[in-house]
Structures are given as C-alpha cells and as structure tokens.
C-alpha cells in the first residue's frame, strides 16, 4: 500500500479512494430510491380512501423535535470527522457516541409517532396515502436504524484499532451516509409534513 501523506488518512490509500467514490455512487442510487418514494407519495397523497388525510394526523411538536435531533446529530458527526482529521481519537469517539445517541432518540420518537398514527386509524393497510406515508417514513427510519448498528461497529473498531487508514475511511463513509439521511429528512419534513399541514 502506498500511503499518500499529503491527504487525510481516510483518503490515503488507493483502496480508500475507491471506497469513497463507490459510496458516492451508492448515494446516487439511494437518491433514486427516495426520489421514487417521493414521486409515489405525491401521486398517492390525496388518495385517502376511507382513511384520514395528512392534516388530520400530523402533529407539529414531535416532528419538530425529530428534525432538531437529527440535524444536531449531523452537526455532531461533522465535529467527529473534524476531530478525526486532527487525530484526536477520544474527542472523535465522544462525538460519534453523541451522534448515535441522538439517532437512537430520533428512532424512539419515530416509533412513538407511528403508534400515534395507528391509534388515529392510519395504519399501513388503511389507504393508498397511509401505505406510502408509512413506507416512505419507514424506509428512512430503517436507514437510520441500520446506521445505528453500523456506527456502533465502527466505534468498536476505532476503540480497538485506533485511527488507521481503514477505520478513518469507514468513519468518513459512515458520516457521508449520516449526512445523506439528514438531507432526506429535510425533504420529508418539507414535502410530507409541512406540505401536508398547510
């Protein structure tokens, strides 16, 4: 492995560069995935059948809280990557841990939100609208949940192996993933919740 000293660790080997490029391409595919979900959502948005419409079930406070928590977690993981670049392993571990805890809080709130919807008579099987609503939110939530486990595994490796070209590469890619989920959430917040409540 020829290490390039002028680059940050996560970019220092050829394979690392490949991994990062590959992950960006994967994010391209993810954008298509969520774009398809959004397009379907816009088509089915008003097809509520016998079930409730968006404005009847959406409540602003948990959604605002979720948004605040997720955006903060994106900030903390950014700090984590910054600490990683400075070589401060302890600080990085702390920021990554905070990020994961915020992610966990987000998932907790989302589960609460889902039970609330079901309680209001908006289950997955109720109508075209509820099916696509819960699927779009659920796909994002499943991504966050997957991220929690992924991040945990990376933290374990950082703790055991320190900041190496491999662990920093994995952490950096994970941060890309986490930021991407944040971007998706902003779209959900704007085009699902705000649009639905207007």
């Amino acid at each position: 492995m020829n290490n390039d000293q002028t680059q940050p660790l996560e970019y220092s080997t050829e394979q690392n560069n490949l991994n990062i490029l590959g992950f960006w391409i994967f994010i391209g595919a993810e954008i298509m995935l969520f774009a398809t979900l959004f397009a379907s959502y816009f088509l089915l948005e008003n097809r509520t059948g016998g079930g409730p419409a968006g404005e009847e079930i959406f409540t602003i406070s948990p959604v605002m809280l979720e948004t605040f928590i997720l955006l903060t977690s994106s900030f903390t993981i950014g700090l984590g990557v910054h600490a990683m670049r400075l070589g401060r392993q302890k600080a990085m571990q702390v920021f990554f841990t905070v990020t994961l805890l915020l992610g966990l809080a987000f998932i907790g709130l989302e589960i609460y939100e889902f039970t609330h919807y079901v309680h209001e008579g908006a289950a997955l099987q109720t109508s075209g609208f509820t099916s696509i609503l819960l699927t779009t939110l659920g796909t994002h939530g499943a991504h966050v949940t997957f991220g929690l486990f992924w991040g945990l595994f990376i933290l374990i490796q950082i703790k055991k192996r320190g900041l190496t070209p491999e662990t920093t590469n994995k952490s950096f890619i994970f941060s890309l993933y986490w930021h991407f989920l944040d971007v998706v959430w902003i779209f959900i917040f704007s085009f699902v919740y705000l649009k639905g409540m207007m």
Partner: protein
C-alpha cells in the same frame, strides 16, 4: 399437514411431475458426482469462495447458458401450442405461466448475466486493471443474482409459477386475481437478483473511472468498456426504481397495503409507470453492451479502426439520457391523453437518431475494410439488417396514434424479439465466440459455429417475420389459442419452424462447446484473432493477476500500435502484486437471502426473521473482519510468466 399444503402446485400436470423427478435426479447426480470424484473442496476453494473477476465472469456465463436453455424450452412450448389452431397441448393457465417465466428468465436471468459475464471478464482486462474495484462485492453480486435465479426457477415445482406476464401489471398481479404464490416469487426473486445487479453497477463505475492503466484517458478506452460504463450508470439509476416498485408489490401481496390495489386509494397505473421507468432503461442496459461487443468485433475483422469513435461515445450518452424519458410508450393506450402521448412519441422516435448513427458508423468501419468472415463477424453482419428491421418497426410503434392498432398484438412481439435477439443474443454469441480463446485457451470450431450462426440468423427471421402479419391481422399476444377461422394458423406454423431452427442452432452451439473442448488445439497464440485492444496483450487463459506489468497506454488502439508500430506496452520490471483474499461470506450471505426469499414467498415469518438476522450477522462479520489480502512474490510471477510462454514483451 395444513402447513405443507401451501407448497403444492396449484395446477399440476404430468410434465411438471416429470420435471420434479428430473430436477431431483439432477441434484442427486451432482451431489453423488462431486462426492465420488472428491471435488467438493475444489468447488469451494476455487469457485464458490473466489473473488477473481474472471472466475466470477465464467460462473455468470454458465448460469446464463443454463437460463437460456430454460427460457428456450418455454419458448418452444409456446410456439408448439400456437402452431395449430385450437391446440390442447397446454391449457390457458400453463400458457400464462410459461410466457411469464419466459420473459423474466430471458431478460433478467439470461440476458443480464450474459452481459455481466462478458463485462466481468473483459472490462478489467481492457483497461489494464488487476481486478474490479471491490472484488468481494463482485462475488456477492454474482451469488445474489444466482440465488435470485434459483428462487425464481423452483417456483414451478414448489407453489406455482408467476402467471401475470413478465410485466406483472396490477390489479392482475394482485391477490384478487393471482391467488397462487407465483407472483410472490416474481417480486422477491427479482428483488434479490436486482440487489446484486445494483452492486455490479456501482462496482464497475468505480472500476472504470479509477482503475484504468496509466495513459488511458476516457477517450482512449475501448468501446466495449465505454458501453459498460454507460450501462452501469443506467443500472445505478434505474434499478432503485425497480427495488421500490417490487417492495410495494410485495407489501400489497403480503401485508395488504394499498399501493396498486383498485380500492382505498390505491393506484394500479403507478405500478405500470414505475415498472417501465425501470423497464425501458433496462432495454438499453441490455443493448448498449451488445453495441459494445459489435464495436470490438467489427473493427477487428474489418481490420480497420472503429469509424467515428467520438460519435459512438456521444450517441451512447444520448441514448442513456433518452432511455429515462420514453417509458410511457409501453402503454399509450392506457389513457394519458394526447399531449402526454405525443411527447413520449417524439422522445421515442428521437432514440432512433443516435442508434442510426451507430449503425452507419459500423457500416463505415466495414467500408473498404479487409473483411474476414469469422463466426463473431458473421453474427455482426447478420445483426445489422435484422436489427434494422426490428428497429424501424419500433419507430412505427412509437407513433402513438398508430399504436392503438399494434398494441398488445403479435406485431409488438415480432418487433421486440427482432431487436432483442439480433441486438443482444447475437452480440452475446459473437462475444462468447470472440473471447472464448481468452477465457479458456482454445478456440471454438469455426465450421460448427458458422452453421449455428446461419441457423440462428435465418431462424430468427422465420420465427418472427410472420408475426408482423398475424399481428396486423389482429392476433393478440398472450392468448393461448385461436380459432381456425381467424386464418392465423399458417403464420404460426411458419413461426414454429423458425423456433425449431433457433433451437437446433442453440443445440449446435452446445455441441460446439463439447466438440471444441475435446478436440480443439490448446496450442494457440495469446492473440488468435489479430485483435486491437489490451485484453489480447496478456496470456490466454489469463493468469490470476491479469498483467505481470501494468501496461502503458498512449493511444486508442494501444495493443495494435504495440504490434504494428513497435510501441512499448510493458515498461519496467516485475513487482510484488497485491491480491484480494477469497471469502465464503458472499456465498453464505446469498444463501441466507435465498432462505429469506423462500420464507417470504410462503409467509413463514419465523424463518424469514431468522434468516434476516443471519444476513445482518454476515454484514457485521464483514465490518469487524481484518482482510488485507495477500501479495504475490516476484519469483512467483516470474515462474508463472515463464510457464505461460515468456513475458508479454
């Protein structure tokens, strides 16, 4: 007992029971054979755990040929059923199942792996790379595809085949009208194979963008590599749409959601749109690599460089963009209104322009060339006229007003077979014959190969031209029979003869493989066709590290200039080569996907949950594992190079 009843076939027939016995006997024969010849270890070490792009390519190839046989048998049964009016060979249910599986198997489990087989084997060699960017992901891609294909294929002996067409339109594919688990198989098996294809897409884009030999700029890449790059870009942007559509379809069928239902706000046209937003780019995923193969074969055997290299590249880029803007032409008759239909009519016809540019470029490459008619060249020359007929009838179908006459008739069936067969199948057979010596170190017999090519070429015309006529006369597709008074009988009888010619052609290809394996000379040069691109600069068959020294490229036809103008291709000395380690995890993970898929098809939730946990455990294992690969020593490389007949100086 009630638990097991769900696995029974809903419409059994003696043919299916016979297939069950045949499948059982084949499995037993394979197990006994492997055990008797003590080949289990070899199979595991050399093939199942391999991450070598060449071996993965060969496994894709074998799978594609097996699926070609399966899809071909379906085709022959359909043509036999329709050969005479009021035939009772198959009943309507079996006919429905057969045309559904024929479409899925041929497109997703034959054409796709065939293309990916050639890409896997050839692209890294053409760009002078050691392997793909993510060798282990590549293995996972293959095994996911393979398990998806196997899951789809067991449907006809366990639980029943899908019977809603390869397009699986809702509400027909919903629970109300498709009661058997067949459509569950469709949704889940294609999903699993599709995940593999998406990973292939990511892998090859990264490989082609980042791993080219020094000096090979994008505009110096061989045309097949260019076609692979564009194809994989389409894969990455089209397959997620299918992923979502299939997931929604699965949820509609298993969890009673309302995406595509006709009640409670569901929208059945959403499926048709999503399916074709993936489905039409898929057509170009199939055809562009085929164009790439022709762009390699024609210059080689016309002994001229490819005419209009830049316009070839740009036409592919334009086709790639347009491919996402034409999907509505698959359902002009389903009520979009005149404006929408007109827009999609025009975008569809526009695709004929870049395609036409390519056809003319091949013709100009042939112009004044010193043409050698070999088997790959014969396929290419048969391709041009037949494909043009298929393509021009496509422009007829693109006119939305006229389409009301052609829609859902045999005219359409004739059209798409006459583009897909000369486009994809001829290209794959040409590519197979062309690159065979590179893969296996001996050549396929030219005499048998040409017989097969002529039979397949003429067979295609005989099988599908009559359908233009019967289609215009009003013969609908997907109808299991027709009355004598319609007068369709004669055309279908001719088509049946064409299908038999095609079948004989394919049998000859199999015979050719057998014959050449036994009798062909192993003493061939590394570059038997006197070809132009880098894959011919290394030994045949290719050593595991591809090139002992990374080639230095400074022109489009680097290898040609190396041969004819004495430009040095390999500079410097042998160095240690880093190689990835083999791994059994991709196979195990894919096998778990198979179990998961099977459990989902039959709604056996406990098994589904257990296998899902297993899948995530594999991912966790991969995350924690330390895998730095291994190095091949300079001595080892020297030894191998000497054994293979000197360095590639």
């Amino acid at each position: 007992m009630e638990f097991f009843e769900r696995f029974a076939i809903p419409h059994p027939s003696p043919a299916i029971y016979a297939s069950m016995v045949a499948i059982g006997l084949t499995v037993i024969a394979i197990i006994v054979g492997l055990t008797y010849f003590k080949k289990w270890g070899y199979l595991w070490r050399e093939w199942i755990t391999t991450v070598d792009h060449k071996r993965i390519g060969i496994m894709y190839l074998i799978s594609a040929l097996l699926m070609l046989f399966r899809g071909g048998v379906d085709a022959i049964m359909m043509r036999a059923q329709l050969a005479v009016p009021e035939n009772t060979l198959l009943d309507s249910q079996h006919y429905n199942e057969i045309f559904s599986t024929h479409g899925v198997v041929m497109i997703i489990f034959m054409a796709m792996p065939f293309i990916i087989a050639l890409m896997n084997y050839i692209v890294p060699l053409q760009i002078g790379a050691r392997d793909v960017a993510f060798p282990r992901l590549n293995a996972l891609s293959f095994w996911l595809f393979f398990m998806g294909a196997m899951l789809f294929n067991i449907s006809f002996v366990i639980g029943g085949s899908p019977d809603a067409g390869w397009t699986s339109y809702f509400p027909l594919a919903g629970n109300e009208f498709s009661k058997s688990v067949g459509t569950n198989y469709y949704m889940i098996a294609i999903q699993i194979a599709g995940l593999g294809t998406l990973m292939t897409g990511i892998n090859f884009i990264a490989t082609i963008l980042k791993m080219r030999a020094p000096g090979m700029t994008l505009m110096k890449m061989p045309m097949f590599t260019w076609s692979a790059l564009i194809t994989n870009i389409i894969i990455v942007f089209a397959f997620p749409v299918l992923t979502v559509a299939l997931a929604m379809g699965t949820m509609d069928r298993l969890f009673a959601t309302h995406f595509f239902t006709t009640g409670n706000g569901g929208m059945d046209m959403l499926w048709a749109n999503l399916f074709w937003v993936w489905g039409h780019p898929e057509v170009y995923i199939l055809i562009l690599p085929a164009f790439g193969v022709y762009s390699e074969v024609i210059p080689t055997f016309a002994r001229r460089n490819l005419y209009g290299y830049r316009s070839m590249v740009w036409s592919m880029v334009i086709i790639c963009l347009l491919s996402f803007l034409v999907w509505v032409h698959h359902f002009f008759t389903m009520g979009q209104g005149a404006l929408v239909n007109s827009i999609f009519s025009i975008t569809t016809m526009a695709i004929a322009v870049p395609t036409g540019i390519k056809i003319f470029n091949w013709l100009f490459t042939l112009w004044k060339g010193k043409i050698r008619i070999t088997t790959p060249m014969l396929y290419s020359l048969l391709f041009i006229p037949i494909f043009t007929i298929g393509g021009v009838t496509g422009v007829m179908l693109a006119m939305s007003a006229a389409d009301y006459q052609y829609h859902n008739t045999m005219f359409l069936v004739a059209h798409f077979h006459l583009v897909i067969i000369p486009g994809v199948v001829f290209a794959m057979l040409a590519g197979l014959t062309y690159w065979w010596p590179k893969m296996f170190g001996f050549m396929l017999n030219e005499r048998i190969g040409k017989w097969a090519a002529w039979l397949i070429g003429i067979g295609t015309c005989v099988a599908f031209f009559p359908m233009f006529i019967s289609g215009l006369d009003g013969q609908a597709r997907r109808m299991f029979t027709y009355s004598e008074a319609t007068g369709f009988g004669i055309w279908n009888m001719i088509a049946f003869f064409g299908a038999i010619m095609l079948a004989v052609g394919f049998v000859l290809i199999v015979y050719n493989i057998y014959y050449s394996t036994r009798y062909a000379s192993r003493d061939i040069p590394a570059d038997p066709w006197d070809a132009r691109s880098l894959e011919w600069a290394t030994h045949s068959p290719v050593p595991e590290y591809n090139f002992a020294i990374t080639p230095d490229v400074n022109s489009r036809d680097a290898f040609w200039n190396h041969k004819k103008n004495n430009q040095k291709l390999f500079k410097g000395d042998y160095q240690e080569i880093h190689m990835p380690n083999n791994s059994g995890v991709p196979f195990i993970m894919s096998a778990l996907f198979f179990v998961f898929g099977f459990a989902m098809v039959f709604s056996v939730w406990i098994l589904a949950i257990i296998s899902a946990i297993g899948i995530f455990a594999c991912m966790g294992h991969r995350s924690l594992e330390k895998d730095h690969g291994h190095h091949l020593s300079v001595d080892h490389i020297k030894e191998t190079e000497e054994k293979l007949g000197g360095a590639n100086s």
